[in-house]
Structure formats: structure tokens, C-alpha cells
Symmetry: C2
Subunit: 167 residues, 2 copies
């Protein structure tokens, strides 16, 4: 029975019928989930008088250690001037270190300091906790589906950049 269902399901995929209402429900789900998803970090950031922009910078500097300012700009899709305000604060506050590039001295490689890592840990702990609970509650099959759909929702250029960066 499982096998039979699987075959039927797969052959249905090509003509998956989706009402506008079902799609709108998915859209709302994204909205509400994203809201919950950002709520825990938002609370923590208040203690530092930082905002989401700081979180994003800290997150990506942690994930791609030593990345260049330009890389960060590409990832975030904001202007140099917007990033500068945030980065300036993080550097002045001693959470981020900006090292002159070894090959090209115009470049700056960004790293988290110990203090920066501590904030990152706090933020990602909260977010991971929520993700882990959701993953566990939904089950591993659901997680695969979740990841697959999210990947397809992204802009193609974004998807290519992310996946090519992965080693």
C-alpha cells in the first residue's frame, strides 16, 4: 500500500492541483512562521540595543569566517552605507574584527571576536532551539519537504550562490 500510494503521489506531482486559497494559506504560513522565527533573537538584541541588521551581520560573519565586506553586502543585498552603520557599531563595540586582506590589502576580512561569538551563540541558541523543536515535532520526512520547498521559493540566483558556496 505504501508503495502504491507513493507511485500515485509522484505521478500526481506534475499536475498538483492547488487552489488559490491553499496557496494563500501557504503564504500566510510563511508570514507567521517568519514572525515567530525572529521573535526570540529580537528579544535578546534589545539588551544590546541592536536590531535585526546586527543579527544578520553577526550570523553571516560567523558562518563564513573571514568573508570580505563585499561578500557580506552581496549576501544581505543592502547598500554599503547601510551596512557600514551596523558594522561600525559592531567593530567599535569589539564584537567584530576587521583584518586587512593578506593578498589584496584593499580588502577587509571580517571575524567575530570572543565577545562577538558569545552574542552569536546566544542568538543562534534561541533560534536553534525553536528549529529543533519544530523539526522534532514534524518528523524527518517533513523536514526534508520543508527544506526542499524553501529552496524552491528562493530566487534562483540566491540558491546558486548559497549552494556553490557550500563545500
Amino acid at each position: 500500500m505504501a508503495d502504491h500510494n507513493r507511485v500515485v503521489t509522484n505521478s500526481m506531482d506534475a499536475m498538483l492541483f492547488l487552489t488559490d486559497d491553499q496557496l494563500l494559506q501557504g503564504i500566510e504560513l510563511m508570514y507567521f512562521a517568519y514572525k515567530g522565527f525572529t521573535s526570540d533573537p529580537d528579544l535578546i538584541l534589545q539588551n544590546y540595543s541592536y536590531g535585526r541588521a546586527h543579527h544578520r551581520a553577526v550570523h553571516f560573519i560567523n558562518r563564513r569566517k573571514g568573508l570580505k565586506v563585499n561578500d557580506l553586502l552581496d549576501i544581505l543585498g543592502i547598500t554599503k552605507q547601510s551596512l557600514n552603520r551596523v558594522l561600525r557599531q559592531l567593530i567599535d563595540d569589539g564584537l567584530v574584527e576587521s583584518r586587512v586582506g593578506q593578498l589584496d590589502k584593499r580588502e577587509r576580512n571580517l571575524f567575530l571576536t570572543e565577545e562577538g561569538k558569545e552574542l552569536e551563540r546566544q542568538l543562534s541558541d534561541a533560534q536553534r532551539k525553536r528549529m529543533r523543536a519544530a523539526y522534532r515535532a514534524a518528523g524527518s520526512d517533513a523536514v526534508q519537504g520543508f527544506r526542499l520547498v524553501l529552496e524552491k521559493i528562493m530566487d534562483v540566483e540566491t540558491r546558486n550562490r548559497i549552494t556553490q558556496d557550500k563545500e
Copy 2:
């Protein structure tokens, strides 16, 4: 084999092992997907000199026709003063109609005008198109998993409010 795998997978769910890196990948996925998800409407809104706040208002007024101002405040989780700016514009521009409540005349029931429906259609067409493409590419099993995980990511109070509202 399918049945055997299913059993193994389900029994694994309780102890689903997730590395911090896997969870961080999920977190990034949410970030990038949400970004893509809002990019199409953002372009359309520029033509109207509106922002995401207007989109959200229009979306929920369409989805819950005749909802009260207080209902909308609850859903959006913003202050009366923040909503007012947006709602004032939409009403003045003739996209939203505010009708005095029939039972309680203090209340105002919100509706989209024909013009408002036209904007809603434009915005949701773009977003539905992206969702439909993602759903089709991922397959119906994946869609189920996607929805399930998103529901679990939401705040419990949000989830209860959403699901109870559904008839």
C-alpha cells in the same frame, strides 16, 4: 522496502539527531526564502508608493473580509498608531472601506473596494505564482512537510489563533 523505511524513519523521529550546522542551514534557508518570497510584491508596491505594511493590511482585509480594526491589530502585532498611518492612506486612496459596525457602532469593519481588490490581486498573483512553482517543483509530499514544519515554528498562540479562525 518503502514500508520498512517508513517504520525506521518514524521511530527515528523521536531521537532525530540534528547538528548545529544542520539547524543553522535551516535558519538561513528561512531567511533567504522569506527574502525571495517578499521580493515580487515589493516591486509592485513601489508603483503605488506603498510598502510591506500596506501589503499586509490589504492581504488580511481580503482574507478576513469585514474584520475589525482590533482584529487586524492583533494579527499584525503592531500598535494602533502604526496601523493608522497605513490604514488612513489606504482609506483615503479608496482601496479600503471602513464601515460602522452594525451591532456595536464603535467598531469599524474593514473591506477592500474594487480598487483595493485589484491591488490585492496583483500582489497575490505574483506571490501565488512563486508558491505554485515551488510546490510543483518540490512535490506534494514536500508541501505537506513544508506546511507542518512552518506550523511548528510559529508561536503557539499564533497557531491557535490561526487555526481556530479557520472554519
